[in-house]
Every structure is written in C-alpha cells, then in structure tokens.
C-alpha cells in the first residue's frame, strides 16, 4: 500500500517537473524572441546611422556654398590648431646630411613601418637633438614611393624632399 502511494507521489512530482521544464522552455523561447527583436532594432539603428552618414557626406560634398577646400578652411579656422611646421623647419634646418641612416636602415624602423604598431624612441636631450626627427617623415616618403603632390600632410609649404 505504502509502496503504491509512494509511486503515485513520485509520479506526481515527475509530472510537475515536466511542467516546470515546459515553462522554462517557454521562457527560453521568449528570451530568444526578445534577442531577435533587439537584433532587429540594432540593424535598424545601423541603417539610420549609415543613412545619416551618407546624408552628411552629401551635405559636405554637395553644399553649394562650401567646396572641399572651403570646407577644410572652415574646419581649420574652427579648430585653429598650432602649426607644427615651425618646429619641423627648425629641426630640418639643423639636420646634418647623412645622420640617422642607421635607424632608417635598421629592422626596428622597417618593422614599425610595415606593421601597424607603436614605437617609442627615447634618449637624453642631446641624443634627441642629434637624432633628426624630420628624417622620419622624409624616410616615410621615400620608402613609400609617394609622389611629391600628395599624401604627406604638411601644414605649410615645408618641403619634404630629401
């Protein structure tokens, strides 16, 4: 008798566990639905961002009163940055021809130039003065095979030809 009752209770518990299982499955499905909806929303935000980017691009490039150069002038006037070419020119004038070649021909520079990375060059004041920084820019230009007309950003008319 006791055994039959125990079996009945066990069976009842079993059924309830199944019920709980089904409910968990239901919750699972709903979480999945919410996930899908968030993904949809994410995609839509991306689309909106993308179209606003294009709209701005069109505004920037097709605005009748602002050509590319005028836009750049406006941006420059707005931010009014300090001109680093003055320091560049001082360093370039102090440069002694032939120095720092050991660096530009060495593996550290070549590795840094070919692989995206960080490079720290340190030394005392004399070493830094003797190590001519403008050469870094010149070497980049030479090694990259760039034409004279573009790609090296110089705020003034600084000549970078070695």
């Amino acid at each position: 008798m006791a055994a039959a009752e125990l079996l009945k209770i066990t069976h009842g518990v079993d059924n309830r566990i199944k019920g709980v299982d089904e409910r968990i499955q239901g919750v699972d499905d709903k979480v999945q639905e919410v996930g899908d909806k968030v993904q949809d929303l994410d995609d839509k935000i991306d689309q909106v961002n993308c179209s606003s980017f294009h709209n701005t691009s069109i505004l920037a490039s097709e605005s009748p009163d602002l050509t590319g150069n005028q836009l750049r002038d406006s941006l420059r006037q707005w931010l009014s940055p300090a001109d680093p070419s003055t320091n560049y020119n001082i360093a370039a004038d102090a440069h002694h021809v032939g120095t720092s070649q050991w660096f530009f021909q060495g593996s550290i520079f070549k590795d840094w130039q070919s692989a995206g990375s960080f490079l720290w060059i340190h030394g005392n004041r004399t070493c830094l003065l003797a190590f001519c920084n403008p050469l870094l820019l010149i070497a980049l230009q030479c090694c990259s095979g760039l034409g004279k007309d573009h790609s090296l950003v110089c705020p003034s008319s600084t000549s970078l030809s070695a």
Binding site: A82, G116, W120, C143, S151
Partner: protein
C-alpha cells in the same frame, strides 16, 4: 604590406614644445591631428565636418572627448590607408600641474589609441626617458629605441662634430691637436649630457 603597394599613406605629426604654450597638451595635439588628417583624406574630412555640424556649424568648440572619438573614427575608416602619427618630445608636455596633468592626459590618449589595436595605425613617440612616460609606454611591450645605446647615433655625433670643427672658418685656424681634442671631448661627453 609595403607602403608602395598600398600607394598612399597619411602622415600627421606634432611637436610638444616647452617654449610654446599652444603645443603643450592633449587638446593642442588633437586639434592639430584632426586638421592634418582631414586635410589629406576625404573620409576624415567628412568625419570632422560632422563634428563641425553637431557643434552648431562651428559655433561651439568640441570637447577633448569628442575630438578623441573623432580621431578614433578617422583611424577606423574601413578603407583607411596606413596612418603614421608622430609625436615628438612628449617630455616637453608639462607634468607639473593639474590632476591629471597635461602629460598624463596625453599618455591616456596614447594608451587609448594603442589599446584599440588598429592594424593601419603606426604611432611613434619620441621623448626623454622620464619615469612617468616610461611607466606607461613600456607597458605596450612594443618596439623601443634607446638612442643612448645606439652606436649609430654616437657615430652621427662624431661625424657632425668633426664636420663642424673642420668647416667653421674660425675653428679651421686652430692647431690640429686642439681640433682633435675638441672632437674627442665633445664626442665622448655628448652621450652623457
């Protein structure tokens, strides 16, 4: 990939300068880099022009945060060619006042830029090996050149001193042993100055 294969690269640079208060902090650096990059790249110019638009078409100035985000966006443009950023004489950015100090702010920016691991970004910093700079930059475990230990640089100094001593009209009149003494002394001491 070699640069010549890519055909195009952008270089922007900044000199910290203890003689010029406009070249001593993160804001000065960001202003300069953004304008330089946008001058050479159409996508970068578009990104900066959006910042301009969202600041009342230039009526308000952007915050350092907004400019940092703008710079990061420029560096992550999908078709962005290799970008070389060169920051010279970081030790001339002061670390004496402010919490965080101007130099700490620049180091934070460098940390943030290096942290996003952009394959197209080539960042070079030169400075004296001051403790606070060293502490941050050595964490990156990247390429480091210690000029003090470079025999190439010592030879450069000897060559330069020799050249000056032999080409300066006054020094050319000195006795040969005096000139040699000057060359030897200056070359020997240069590394420790």
């Amino acid at each position: 990939m070699e640069l010549r294969d890519a055909g195009k690269a952008t270089v922007a640079y900044f000199y910290f300068d203890f003689k010029d208060t406009n070249k001593q902090n993160r804001r000065n650096l960001l202003l300069s880099l953004l304008v330089q990059l946008s001058a050479r790249s159409d996508p970068c110019c578009e990104i900066l022009s959006r910042l301009y638009s969202t600041h009342g078409r230039g009526a308000q100035k952007p915050s350092d945060r907004a400019m940092t985000d703008c710079l990061k966006e420029m560096l992550t443009v999908p078709a962005q060619c290799p970008t070389f950023l060169i920051m010279d004489a970081l030790d001339e950015c002061p670390n004496t006042s402010g919490i965080p100090s101007p130099r700490e702010q620049v180091l934070e920016l460098i940390d943030e830029l290096v942290g996003i691991c952009l394959p197209n970004l080539h960042l070079c910093v030169t400075s004296r090996p001051e403790f606070d700079i060293q502490t941050v930059l050595e964490r990156f475990q990247s390429r480091t050149v210690s000029l003090h230990d470079e025999t190439g640089l010592k030879q450069d100094i000897i060559d330069y001193v020799t050249h000056v001593v032999h080409s300066d009209p006054r020094m050319r009149r000195w006795r040969e042993e005096d000139r040699d003494l000057v060359i030897k002394t200056l070359s020997d001491k240069a590394g420790g100055m």
